[in-house]
């Protein structure tokens, strides 16, 4: 039975008792006190019910808003279409690049191993092989278009996630280091730097004394400071 209903029943019972022929006046005082307590309880329970109702309504609207925002993310479109397609595009880029590189290297190997005893035949052979290299280089146009599609997909996902995080007030959680992260950290697997090497070959040469003065251990240690 809901709390306000209980309070009403108690109050009704007190009113009924007060209406009866009570011989002891102290019993009337007790009933008055009980009546006041009952009214106070009813107000208290009413306020609790309203607070709970407001809380539930807020949670419900929050869930509804979350559903709308998740729907706007179009997760099914991302997981079933855009991301797999981006993966396939990158796979094709790797494949085309490898094929073109292998073709160019094969042509270069053929030219290096060619018979040079007949200059005219050698020149014709080299010309044909150069044409094969030009043809192989056409991969760059296609891979450029494929990579642009992948970049577009990433930008699309980035914008939607940014909006979702902003609307929902999401903040980044602390992540635990995975075994893969640990391996990368321990093995210094940083990958290629953007915009060229972080340390130029000339600077590395200086460390190894290949050209110019070599760095000793103190110089190397100083780089850590």
């Amino acid at each position: 039975m809901p709390a306000p209903e209980v309070a009403t029943k108690v109050r009704d019972a007190i009113i009924a008792l007060k209406g009866a022929d009570l011989k002891d006046p102290r019993l009337g005082e007790v009933l008055n006190l009980a009546s006041q307590m009952s009214e106070a309880m009813q107000m208290f329970f009413s306020s609790i019910d309203r607070t709970l109702f407001d809380e539930m309504r807020y949670i419900s609207s929050y869930i509804q808003r979350t559903r709308v925002e998740i729907s706007n993310l179009r997760p099914n479109d991302l997981s079933e279409d855009r991301i797999p397609r981006a993966g396939a595009e990158l796979h094709a880029v790797v494949q085309h690049t490898a094929e073109a590189t292998n073709l160019i290297m094969a042509v270069a190997e053929d030219v290096m191993a060619a018979d040079t005893s007949d200059p005219a035949a050698y020149q014709a052979f080299v010309s044909d092989k150069m044409m094969e290299i030009f043809e192989a280089c056409t991969f760059q146009d296609i891979t450029g278009q494929r990579i642009k599609k992948v970049v577009d997909t990433l930008t699309h996902i980035e914008h939607r996630l940014e909006r979702f995080a902003s609307v929902m007030g999401v903040e980044d959680a602390e992540l635990e280091e995975t075994s893969e992260d640990k391996r990368k950290r321990e093995n210094l697997l940083n990958g290629p730097a953007l915009n060229g090497p972080e340390v130029a070959q000339d600077d590395i040469d200086a460390m190894f004394g290949t050209e110019g003065p070599s760095m000793d251990q103190n110089d190397l240690d100083a780089l850590f400071d």
Binding site: A98, T101, N102, M105, A108, E109, M112, N187, L188, L189, N190, G191, P192, A193, P197, E198, V199, A200, Q201, I204, M207, F208, T210, E211, L220, L223, F224
Partner: protein, 128 residues
């Protein structure tokens, strides 16, 4: 001391294209005896069955990296003296310093050219 051009060279890289490029460049330099491995573990197995005059290794490979291979080689009494050149896209200062501390003989940052490879091989093995 003259460089033994017949001494086998071990090229360690998980990208077949890069192995092919280095193999061709070494061939141009006069090194015909070139073996391949696709990661540190395979390289280590080959090094324990054959003596190599030079190891040219990438850094980022699975399951054993070139950095792990370098440390294994330098910790092995028999393999320790093998000249070791790292050829890698890992170009952070911490990588170069870690490799140097681990005992690498020279370090080449990708992309590189034939002249750079020749100069580093010569710096490790002597002029040829």
């Amino acid at each position: 001391m003259a460089v033994d051009m017949n001494a086998p060279v071990l090229v360690v890289d998980d990208y077949q294209t890069m192995v092919r490029i280095i193999r061709n460049l070494l061939k141009q330099l006069g090194f015909e005896n070139v073996d391949e491995a696709s990661d540190g573990r395979e390289a280590l197995e080959k090094m324990r069955t054959k003596k190599y005059g030079l190891v040219i290794s990438d850094w980022n490979m699975e399951p054993m990296t070139g950095y792990e291979l370098l440390r294994e080689v330098r910790a092995d009494e028999i393999l320790k003296p093998t000249p070791f050149i790292m050829v890698t896209a890992e170009s952070k200062t911490e990588n170069v310093i870690a490799a140097k501390k681990a005992g690498v003989n020279n370090y080449i940052v990708k992309p590189f050219n034939a002249q750079t490879l020749k100069a580093k091989v010569a710096s490790v093995l002597g002029d040829f």
